[in-house]
Symmetry: D2
Subunit: 358 residues, 4 copies
C-alpha cells in the first residue's frame, strides 16, 4: 500500500531514520522537459529548518534522480530517485524503543507488524512526504505544459482563519511569509500564535486550502473514480490530516438547494461556464472546467516538548521526556505536500480521461 | 472505475432508467452464512417512497442473487446480483434530453463521453447506490461474524444538529423515525424542516455520522492504504457528498496538541485502551481498537420542484420545468449507503491485514 | 480475482449450475456502435451442442444486456449482462458431491474454500467462458472500428497438425467446418479423430493459433505490462490451457540469432516493416505493427465417459461413473474464447497507450 | 507497468546505462529474518562476466538496501534498494543512437514514446532483471520459512536437451557448471555449443525448467488469478522469453484424457496425493500440493557480433557494426531470474490465500 495512482503511479519507501527515503514514479508520460532545479525547489519548501515556525532539524534533502530521464526529458520509463537521510540522530530515540507515544502510530504498528522501527516514527513519520513532493513536482511539470496550475496555502491556524474566499486573495503572496498564508495580515497573527504555542512546548493544528486552475472538463470517472474521491483519498493519506471538503463542503449542508446550485452560462466565445462555483469545479465526480478547490484539516501533532505519561509495550506506565526537534504546527510545511498530492491525482485523471471515448 | 476494493472488491453497473442495476462482489470470503432476508432489509432502508421525507417514487427494489452461494453459504466465488428497475418513467425525462441541469452531471458526462444517458441522470443517478447497499450487506454479515458492527445516523439537517456525541446516544433508536436520527427530539425538528423545504419545492443538506465498533487493532496500511484514506475515498464516492472528517475532524484544528492526544491505559484484563478517542479509532492510518467514527457532509441536492433557468447543449438558454419525484433531503436514505461503504472498506482491510506478518 | 484488465476491465461471475452467469464490462469507451446480433453470434460459436464434435448439452445461451447502451451506442458506463443457465440438471451431479474427480478442481477448491459447489464443477467449469465471449465481442467491435481484426483457429488436435503457417491459410474458412480449422483437408482428419475418441469415451487435446492484424505500433508496456505477458496471462486463464507461445515460440530456441532476427525495411510509402516476423509482432513487449500471432495448448479434458477410480473427501476410494454430456475435445469451442481474451487484452493496451506521451 | 503483484508487489526502475537500477518491494510480510549475504549471492548468480559462456562485461552489482529492515528483520514497510551501474561505456552506443537494431525494442520504444534511450537498450535491456533477482531473493527467504523451495535449471540449449524429467535429476548439481544444467554430461555439450556459437559471433536460445516444492494446497484464485496464469505472466515478462508451459504442456495435447489424468490416493498419514503429476501441481488454477513445474523458452538474443543491415530512424539503410560484449546464450543467467519471478508469484499467492475463508 505504498503505491498511489492508476496510470501515473507513485511508490514510496523509506523511514525517518533509515539510510534514505525515495520512490519510483511510474507512468510518467514521455517527452516532458524536466527542470530538476524546480523539483529541488519544491523539496526545499517542505524542508525542516526553514524558519522559526518549523522544526529546527537540519536536513539538506537533496534529491538524486536515478533513471527515466535522457537529456533532461522524460523517456516514459520509470523515474527512480532517492533522498539520503542526513541528520540521523537515531540515539535520540532510544528512550522510545519500548514506549507507545500517545496519538502516534507506535502502538498500532507494533500490533500490526509484531515489531516496529522506533527511530523517529519509522515509516509513520512525515519524513516520507518528502518523496511525495518529488513525485508531485514531476507531475506538476507535466500539468503546467497542459496549462494546469496548483496552488495551496495555509487558511487557518488554530482558530485564526482567513475569512475571505481564495478568489479575493493574491495567491502569489503565499511564499512571502513563513506560514504560507497569502493574507499577510492574518499570516502575522498565525505566526505569532505558532511561536506562542512553540514556546509553551505545545502544538497547534490548521487547515490548508488548495486551488487547481486550468483543469479541462472531463477528469474523473464515475462511480468509484470520482475526482473528489481520489482527492480525498490522497489528502487523507497525508500524516495528521483529519478532514477533507471541497466546494461548499460542510458549510453547504445548511444551504437550500436553490441557494446552492451553480447556474450555467455561455461565454461570448461559446464556452460553457457556471456563474458561481459552489460545486468546487467537480460535478458528478467529473471536472467541469471551473477552479477545483478543497480544504484539508490537520490536527495539532502529538509530539510535545513536555513530559507525557503513557505505557510501554508490557502495559506498564512510563513517562516520555519531552525532547527532540519538532514542528509546533505542520501546516506551513504541509502546503507543498498537499500540492504534490493534488498534482499526482490530477495528472492521473488527465491521462485516464484519454480512454473515455473511442 | 466502477470497482472499489483490493481483496473484497465490488463492481457495480446500471443506470437510473435502464433494465436493471446490479453488481459483482468478488473476494467474498467462503463459509459465511448469508441471511438474504437481511440483505433485502438493508435494501428496503434505502428504498424510495418509505416516508413523507423521501421521494414518492415507488420502487420495489428486490435483489436477485445469481451466483456465489450454495445452501445459504458463500462459496468464495463471485456473487453476481441484479435489481430490476421497476418504475421507469423514461418519458418523464424527455424535456431534459438536451438541457444541462445545474449542479448535476449532465454537462460533465456529455463532454467526457461525447453523449449522455439523459434519463433520470443515467449512471450519475443515486440509483446505483442500491447496489452498494447489497454488497455492503454481504460484507456486513462477514463482519458481524467477527464481532464488528456498523451504525450510522443523521446527525445534522440544515442547521439542526445533534449536539451530543454518539457516545451519549442510544443508537438502537436510529430506525425509530423517518429521518434516522437517534436523538428523537431533534429528529422531530429535522423532520419538520425537511417537510417545510419539500413544500417550498426546495431541498436541504445534512450530515451522516457513522460508528464502527469491535474493530481489531491493525486494520489499514501505511502509507497510501491508511484506513482513514480508504474511508474518505469510499464516502466521497457517494453522490452529493461534499466532505469527510474522522475523530476530532475539522474542529480539532483549534486544539492544542496537549488537549488533543489520547492517553493509553491498560485494562485490568491487560488490554490496551485510550482514555479519550479524539483519534477516532485510527492512529497512523491503522485501527487502534477503539471505536472508529466519522462524519460525511451531503449537499442539498440540485433537483428542485421549481423552474430553473439553464442552457442546452448548444449553449442556448432554456428553462427546466420543476417536475418529477425527488428527495427533499437525501440524508435519511444515505444512512444505509454510508454503512454499506464502511462495511466494504472495513472487511477489505480485515482481509488485507492477514498478510501483514509471515 | 474475477477481474481482468487495467482500463478495459472485465469482471465475471457465475457457476455452471447456478441461476445465471454474467459480468460487467468496465472501461468500455463511449460512442462505439454495438451490434448485439454480432455479440450473440459470438456466443453461439461457443455454445454447446453445435455439432457432433462438441458436447450434446443444449444451452440456448442468450445474452441479456442490462446497462451501458443507449440507442445502440456505448455510453462509457459499465455494461452489465447476464446469461441465464437453461439446462441445469443439477441432479446429474449428486454422485459427485463427495468425490474428487481426478485432474479437476474439486480437491483444490474444497481445500481452499472449505467447501465447494459440486454441481458441474461450479465456478471451475468452462461455463464461465461464455461471459468472456460476450465481453470480448464488445471489445472486438471497438477494435474493428480501429481496423484491428482477430482470428483464431484449431491448428492441432492430438498429433494431427496444420503444417502450414497461418500466412498460407485462408482464414475465412475457419467457420466452414465444425473443428474450426481453415485447412479443410486436415480439418476432416481432426474431425474423424475427435469422433473416434468420443466413441471410446475418451478425450483429446489440441492447439489454437490466433492472429491479430492491424495492430498499431506501440501497444504494450515495459516491463511487466509487456503485451506478450498480458496475452499469456489471459490465455493461461482459460480452462484446460497448458501452454502459450508467440512468434517463433519454443521452436525458436533451436535457431541461431542470425537466423532469428527480423530485418527492417522501409516501404515505398515510408512505413517501416520487417521482412520476416519471427518476433510475432511484438518487440521488447510492444507491438511493432506486424501481425501478432500466438499458440495456446489445451490438454485433453479430464471428464471421461468411463468409470474412473478416485477418492472421496474422507480419503476413501470411490469410483466415479462415466456419465453426463461432455466435450471430447474442447478446442473447437475454445477458438472464440481465445479470440475474446485477445480482444480484451488488445483493446486494453490500445487505451493504455494513449497515456504514453504528454 | 513497472509493478508486478497484488499484495507482495515489486516495482522496478532503471536503465542499462543510467546511474542505477533499483526497486521497491511492497507488501513484504513483517518479521522475516533476512540474510543479505544470500540476497547478494542470488545477484552474483545473475551477474555478467561469471564464465566464458556469459558476456564479458564486468559489473560488480552490489545491492544497497535503503529501508524496510531493522536489526536484520523485515518491518512490514517497503524495502527500497539500488544497484549502481558500474560499467557504463555509454560511448559504446553512440553508433546506435539513430539506428533500429533488428528484433530489439529500438523501433517500438521510439514510436511509442517519441524518443528512446539508445544506450545499451535503456529500459528494454535485461539489465533491469538484476532488480527482480533482489526482490525475488527477499520473497524466497519468506517462502523458505514456510518450507517452499524453488529451483530452476537450463534444460535445453539449441537442440541439446535434457531428456530426463526433473524427478530423475539431482538438482543440487545446478550450480556445478556454468550452464546451470544438473545433468552434467549434457551440460558439457551445452557449454561446447555455446562456445562454438560465441566464436562465430552468433547467439543461441534455450529453455529453463523450474520446480517449486513444498507449496501448500490452495494457492491461486479463480478465474483470472489462476496460479498458472500468474506464472505465465511473470515468465513472459522476462526479456527474450517466447513461450511458457506447465505440467504436460504442449506435449500433453497429443494425449488421451485417460492417459493424462492424475489419480488421487491417500497416504498412510492421511494426506491426499496424486500418483502422477501431469497437472504440474496446479488444478483449476489452484495448487494441489504436488510439485509445481514449468518451462520457459528463451530465443537466441538479437545482439550479434557481426555486421547487421538495418534502417535508421529516417528509414534509410544503415549497417550496425558488430561490437560490444554480449551473452552468446542468455539461458544460464536467466535461471536465477526465473527463480526470482517464481518466488514473487508464489509468495503473493500465499498471502492472498489467507483471505479465502472467513
Amino acid at each position: 500500500m505504498n503505491t498511489i495512482g492508476k496510470i501515473f503511479c507513485f511508490t514510496g519507501f523509506g523511514e525517518s531514520h533509515g539510510t534514505a527515503v525515495g520512490g519510483v514514479i511510474d507512468g510518467m508520460p514521455a517527452r516532458v522537459r524536466i527542470d530538476l532545479g524546480a523539483v529541488q525547489r519544491e523539496l526545499d519548501r517542505r524542508r525542516p529548518g526553514q524558519s522559526a515556525v518549523t522544526t529546527a532539524r537540519k536536513e539538506s534533502d537533496t534529491v538524486e534522480v536515478l533513471s527515466g530521464l535522457m537529456d533532461g526529458v522524460t523517456t516514459g520509463c520509470p523515474i527512480g530517485f532517492i533522498i539520503r537521510n542526513s541528520d540521523q540522530h537515531s540515539g535520540d530515540y532510544d528512550h522510545l524503543r519500548d514506549a507507545f507515544r500517545p496519538s502516534h502510530a507506535d502502538y498500532t504498528y507494533t500490533v500490526k507488524y509484531g515489531l516496529r522501527d522506533h527511530r523517529g516514527g519509522g515509516r509513520s513519520s512525515a519524513r516520507e512526504t518528502a518523496t511525495r513532493v518529488v513525485a508531485g513536482a514531476f507531475a506538476r511539470q507535466a500539468l503546467e505544459q497542459s496549462g494546469i496550475t496548483i496552488r495551496a496555502y495555509t487558511s487557518q491556524v488554530g482558530s485564526i482563519e482567513v475569512t475571505e474566499p481564495y478568489t479575493s486573495l493574491d495567491l502569489s503572496l503565499v511564499e512571502s511569509n513563513p506560514v504560507r498564508c497569502p493574507d499577510t495580515k492574518t499570516a502575522e497573527e498565525m505566526e505569532r500564535l505558532i511561536l506562542d504555542v512553540k514556546h509553551s512546548g505545545d502544538t497547534i493544528g490548521g487547515v490548508v486550502t488548495c486551488v487547481v486552475k486550468g483543469v479541462p472538463v472531463g477528469l474523473g470517472d464515475p462511480v468509484f473514480g470520482r475526482l473528489n474521491a481520489r482527492l480525498a483519498e490522497a489528502m487523507m493519506s497525508i500524516n495528521a490530516s483529519k478532514g477533507f471538503e471541497y466546494g461548499m463542503g460542510f458549510k453547504g449542508v445548511e444551504l437550500r438547494g436553490s441557494e446552492a446550485i451553480d447556474c450555467f452560462v455561455t461565454d461570448d466565445d461559446g464556452h460553457v461556464h457556471t456563474v458561481t462555483n459552489r460545486s468546487g469545479g467537480i460535478q458528478g465526480g467529473i471536472s467541469n472546467g471551473e477552479d477545483i478547490y478543497f480544504r484539508v484539516a490537520f490536527k495539532p501533532v502529538a509530539t510535545l516538548i513536555r513530559d507525557v505519561p503513557t505505557i510501554d509495550s508490557s502495559g506498564n506506565p512510563v513517562v516520555i521526556k519531552g525532547k527532540g526537534r519538532h514542528d509546533p504546527c505542520v501546516v506551513p510545511r504541509a502546503v507543498p505536500v498537499v500540492e504534490a498530492m493534488a498534482a499526482m491525482v490530477i495528472l492521473d485523471a488527465l491521462l485516464l480521461n484519454r480512454a473515455a471515448k473511442i
